[in-house]
Amino acid sequence: MSAHARGFFEDLRDNKRSEPLVRLRKAARVGMFNSPKLRELQRFVLDATRGGLQVAAQEKLYTLISSIEADAATGASTPVNETFPTFNSFKRAIVDDLDAAVLAEGWRKATVTEKGETYNAYFRPVLDVVMVLLDGRRVVKLWSGDEGPVPPSDRRETPMDGDAFRSCEALVCDRLGKSCVLGLHVFSDSTHISWSGCMTSGLLGRPYEEGRGCCLGGTWESAGWWFRGRVPDADLVFPSSRRVFAFRARFLFPPAGSTQTLSRSSTPRQHRGGRCGVVYSRVHPDRSNAEGGERGQVRQAVAVWRFAAGPIHGFSHGNPSQPRRRPD
């Protein structure tokens, strides 16, 4: 069935139609901002006013700098006038560098047609992102044990170290040769919109199993969904306003600061009454932890107030004395 599902999407040939998100123009002059001063200037042009300077503003800036430098003695660095004789060369150099950066990051675009509607999809292959994350790591713990997978237990060391990981690891390591599991935690866009600010109250247990009211009998534990403490990890956010996924790749890295194994029971009700960290951690580089914590507390307070103020829509206490009508 897995091959069937895969074949279904391969038949659509969307990937064949995909192409690099941008194309370098002919005779592109990449890397013209080649001195510290010019790089600083480029960073200002790209960072200013959130989305970078508009073309008109870029022209004004160029005119300003040129007029300033025309009379001044230049010193060691090359004058802007010399590198960019015209504003066009300046503007194109910025665009070329941007395109080169987008290409280097591996962004692609494709047109997808679904039920007659056409959508533009912008994406980066997940595997490439994972490999980039993995390249920067000096120490990688490949297995749950020191030399290989360990037998199943209810003891957890990291959020990744859950039942799902253990069962996948047991299957993968049965193969010939040295194999390991590269686990992925996928965070959708909605997770970022309702960012919890890293911490939330753990009074009521696990939302997935208890929130549905239908999974209490299950013995399965969703991997890494509920754990105590906040563990630093490697997060990645796509640098785009069209952010779709943020991947939290942990690869069983040993948690920084502590090597103590956390005991975890498989009974969800035992988690009640404590204050627990949740899986979220800071992903926006410009958002401080303190700021996120305050925001989370305010949201919690507002949500609790709303909840306490009135009944929940669609929620019924039921009446045990009356026989309940069963569906046909």
């Binding site: 897995s2 599902a5 997940v126 996928v186 009521l204 997935y208 208890e210």
Partner: protein
């Protein structure tokens, strides 16, 4: 498309540098997918909103959701559900057997589309975690559904 190479690597593996251990073949697995409930239903290609089987993890009926009968409900079997899912999607794609397709959709509360993540090893293959991988974004559901009635009364007082 974003997962295309990852799906390939989940089946065939990808070589990574394991440090002192040398080259190791790594197999990608999606262990957790954190999203809100509408997105969960969309990713799994299940019907959203009011439907007969609103739970993605088990076969509980909508009427049993707030009763103790929900405790005895069987989990969604990935093999059977996916089998019916693929059959239903094929019927929809080739415009055939409409009654059979409607029956399959009603049986599992599914939409006639193929869930792309089912192609990922570990989700569509053993240990079949497709319907167990989703964890909810905690702020979307915590204050709406997971407060028990006792706590509701406590807060109201």
């Amino acid at each position: 498309m974003a997962f295309r190479t990852a799906i390939q690597a989940s089946h065939a593996g990808v070589q990574i540098d394991g440090g002192a251990g040398g080259k190791v073949l790594a197999f990608l697995r999606i262990l957790l997918y954190v999203c809100d409930q509408p997105e969960e239903r969309a990713v799994l290609c299940l019907k959203a909103g009011f439907c007969h089987r609103p739970c993605s993890g088990c076969y509980v009926a909508a009427a049993d959701m707030v009763s103790t009968d929900a405790l005895d409900t069987t989990d969604r079997d990935a093999i059977n559900t996916l089998d019916d899912h693929l059959a239903s999607a094929a019927h929809a794609r080739y415009h055939r057997e409409a009654p059979r397709r409607l029956l399959l959709e009603a049986r599992h509360s599914l939409n006639s589309a193929v869930p792309a993540l089912a192609a990922m090893a570990g989700l569509g293959t053993a240990p079949h975690l497709l319907y167990k991988m989703v964890g909810f974004d905690i702020l979307h559901v915590r204050f709406r559904a997971c407060f028990p009635p006792v706590f509701v009364s406590f807060c109201s007082v």
